[in-house]
């Protein structure tokens, strides 16, 4: 660039980018693997010129110049090609010649990532590494009258209930009178939260399904997985594996034509139906599958034309209010499966969650409530929603649980917590904290993608291009060239690793607290935190 060249407002220097490429020309063999693998074309092979001046110390020698040209990798600075830090180049490079480095200064690109008036959209996460859940400790260790249990030896029953549980008296009455008793499933408390077929690649979905089936049938762990909004592959709908699946219906009703038509052919009932009203990552905003990802298969399953963006409205358009939604949708869904399948709503955590819960308590058909906190992930959302909207999960779960306790229904409507569980890798500790705060179980998504499929996203705004169909790991892409990088068998294996190790860690947490025969839901006396205000807010111990 010449020093007097015109500059655009959005002309950026390397220094303005969030990620900078560290490149070692001495080790590079110009194989081109990095440029080929880069999902955003952030790097390219360039010809550079080098001038060497030769000056001699001899008195009458004439200095000379030597010009060499050489090839090297250059990082592009335009907004759409800014490096996302995914480090696929590093992974591909056989010579360790290249790696992205996070810009420690202010990332000025943020001010320009709205070209053509389109604000930034992304997939992934909130990019906030702080976590209250990580700060909670389990302080009530059985030491005196009580020998701590042995996580390796004693029997454990770490299961939870999904479904409307009646009060003991009412249940007894209905048993006596042979009345209707709502369906209840006994499941594993770590649930794979809704990630749609469409948001996820077919290989990722297949891997998930295989992993879940293995856990259920070989390991005896009743792990359940939610479909997200996007329907369910027809063969799965008609298979016995459907019982491991929670079908999600959301405001776009994508895929439900297929599901409804498959009901008469179903060999098994699904585990449950989740009605999605909200999502923690983008509360009050609808789902979105961008056109890049709507290929033939996705279009067929969802019952839509190919290559168009698929937004779901923020609300269920056919209803006026959540009360009505609760009453009507839950009832219709229950009816569709002859009242044999639990139906529950999923909402984003909010200061109004309590109102929803109160509505549910009066509706016998409501089987639970899933609450998704601000740290929840998504396949696509506006950055502003992800970064600034929503409610932390811990206090929301606590408020809702304590409210149920007040009215004596804490065992009747299970609350499931989602959003940011294990976001810094501490999945069992985070899950156990939420359970002891009152959750009946937790839903995970991002953790699973990271652990089971190698998603490179982190809370440092790394990658997060899940919305664009260019997922470098093939997890959230519909491009066969990308998703063939992901072997479903390997994903399945990692799912099993994840759940089995989680189970061990969960036992390592509850055993020293003297718990093993039932999930310690609401055992808040076990929890402590080193912040007085938080302890007070969550009604747990303050420990320093």
């Amino acid at each position: 660039m010449s020093s007097n060249r015109n500059l655009e407002p959005s002309s950026l220097s390397l220094n303005d980018l969030p990620w900078q490429i560290k490149y070692n020309n001495n080790r590079c063999t110009l194989c081109g693997q990095c440029t080929a693998v880069c999902p955003v074309k952030a790097i390219e092979l360039k010809v550079f010129q080098k001038r060497t001046i030769k000056a001699s110390i001899k008195k009458d020698a004439v200095p000379s110049n030597q010009y060499d040209s050489f090839y090297a990798i250059q990082q592009r600075t335009d907004v759409e090609n800014a490096c996302i830090g995914c480090a696929m180049c590093t992974m591909a490079c056989p010579n360790d010649a290249i790696a992205p480095v996070k810009n420690p200064g202010l990332d000025r690109m943020k001010f320009h990532i709205n070209q053509q008036g389109v604000p930034r959209r992304r997939g992934g996460r909130r990019n906030a590494s702080g976590s209250i859940l990580d700060r909670i400790k389990f302080t009530r260790i059985s030491m005196l009258t009580d020998p701590a249990l042995d996580a390796g030896r004693h029997e454990f029953e770490m299961r939870t209930l999904l479904g409307r549980v009646l009060s003991p008296r009412e249940n007894m009455k209905r048993l006596r009178e042979k009345g209707w008793i709502p369906p209840v499933r006994q499941i594993y408390p770590l649930i794979i939260g809704g990630m749609s077929f469409g948001a996820l690649s077919p290989n990722m979905w297949e891997g998930l399904q295989m992993g879940v089936a293995y856990l259920n049938e070989e390991m005896g762990m009743p792990v359940r997985m939610c479909t997200g909004e996007g329907g369910c592959p027809p063969r799965l709908l008609r298979s016995r594996f459907l019982k491991y699946v929670i079908l999600q219906v959301a405001s776009g009703y994508f895929g439900w034509d297929e599901i409804i038509h498959a009901i008469p052919h179903m060999k098994e009932d699904p585990c449950a139906i989740e009605i999605k009203y909200g999502q923690g990552a983008k509360p009050g905003d609808g789902g979105l599958l961008m056109w890049h990802k709507v290929n033939k298969l996705i279009a067929a399953i969802r019952g839509v034309p190919q290559g168009v963006s698929l937004p779901s409205p923020p609300t269920h358009q056919t209803q006026y209010s959540i009360e009505e939604s609760v009453a009507k949708m839950i009832l219709s869904m229950s009816m569709a499966w002859g009242f044999r399948v639990p139906v529950y709503p999923k909402i984003s955590a909010s200061s109004t969650s309590l109102a929803v819960l109160n509505n549910l308590t009066r509706n016998d058909y409501a089987s639970g409530l899933a609450i998704d906190g601000e740290d929840g992930g998504t396949g696509a959302a506006y950055s502003v929603s992800m970064d600034h909207m929503g409610h932390p999960i811990a206090s929301c779960i606590r408020d809702n649980y304590l409210n149920l306790t007040k009215i004596g229904k804490q065992n009747e409507i299970p609350i499931f917590a989602g959003g940011g569980i294990g976001k810094n890798g501490n999945i069992a500790a985070n899950a156990a904290s939420l359970i002891m705060l009152g959750a009946s179980g937790v839903q995970i998504g991002k953790y699973l993608m990271q652990a089971a499929a190698g998603c490179v996203g982190t809370e440092e705004d790394r990658c997060n291009v899940c919305n664009l169909g260019i997922c470098p790991k093939g997890i959230t892409s519909q491009d066969p060239r990308l998703y063939r990088r992901l072997d479903p068998e390997n994903v399945a294996q990692r799912i099993v690793d994840l759940f089995v190790s989680f189970d061990t860690e969960l036992k390592k947490i509850v055993a020293p607290l003297g718990r093993s025969t039932s999930l310690p839901i609401g055992m808040s006396d076990a929890l402590g935190i080193d912040d007085h205000a938080i302890a007070k807010r969550l009604n747990i111990n303050y420990v320093v």
Binding site: S142, L144, T145, D146, P147, L149, H154, E155, E157, R159, L161, V165, L166, S167, P168, R169, N171, M172, L175, R176, I181, V184, Q186, T405, K406, I407, G408, Q410, N411, L513, G514, R515, S516, T517, S518, P520, I521, G522, M523, S524, D525
Partner: protein
Amino acid sequence: MCRLFALTSKDPVSPMLAIKALDVMKEGHDGSGMGLLLQDLGGPFEEMKEAPILSGIFSEEGIRRLDLFMMDKGFLTKYKISLKIPKKPVEGIPRRGLYLIRAYELPEDWDNLDQEEIGNRLSDIRFKIREMGEEKKDMIVFSFWPDTIMIKEIGDPLLLGDYLGLDRKELNARIIMAQGRQNTNYAINLYACHPFFIKGYCTMTNGENTAFIPIRDFLTSRQIPAYSGYQSDSEVFAHILHYSMEELGMGIDAYKHVITPLQEEDLKQHPDAQFLSHLKRTCRPLIIDGPNCVIGTLPDHSLFMAQDRKKLRPGVVGGKPGIYGFSSEICGLDAVIPDRDQSQDIQPMHLDTVIVSPDRLEVKICRQTETLNLPL
């Protein structure tokens, strides 16, 4: 770990017998306190099975307030025992007022009430007195129920027995429960001492109840006024017993299915699998995690022992027709019923509830895998 001893006998016996058993098990408790329950009373109380008996500790001012209160409610004293304490203080036993055991005539206007209503009213009165006592620190009330006496105090059991003169002849019963405390919390609140009593049901436990908070939250939200207190994590055992038998109408054979339900595999094999899985699910917050040995009595004067799911506490039942003992240790049994057939002693395991019914003829073992008496 606290030591427990309970006795059920055809003929009334002195509570000193149970205290003797606690004394031989002294290695296991630190003599920091004793709780005593007498039921199915003999002696003068034999003639007044319907009369509610108030047991507690009162200061002089407390007695005055109690009398006014009870008179106002229409209760007349029918019979009383005041335990006279020696003038000379005994080390380790606090000086308090009067240890009162007083039987009342029911108010006339209660004549037409049914048993349940009478029970509720008696329980309300006990709470009222407790409340009044806590306010002015002049009354402590342990029980107010027909055919039931309760005494709790800090100190070594044997010394306490002498101190309170528990060997007096008016004081004898066919059911005696006694606990020797192992102190785990220094400021001892007598309301936190075993046994715990609720409307004819009484339990004592040793060990720690790690699932206390969710259980307490569940019980207090049942809208049953008597489900309160909970100074001790063991009080809930008595209330769960009451809940499962009175509120859910089940028998003692189901109690263990509430506190330590079968795990899924065993449950599936059970002849009452369907009922039990409903019970397990609806009573999930009442599941205890031990380690606990629970000894309890029922309104019909059956005595039982149940263990936690892993059987992490000792417990043994033995005796001979006419008298049976339930003890933390065998030496306790040996001290009280030395002439029994030891080979018949039973140490209940993780699935067992051991029951001696009021006929005191045999020890019945009720195993969790057996068919239940369903309240359906």
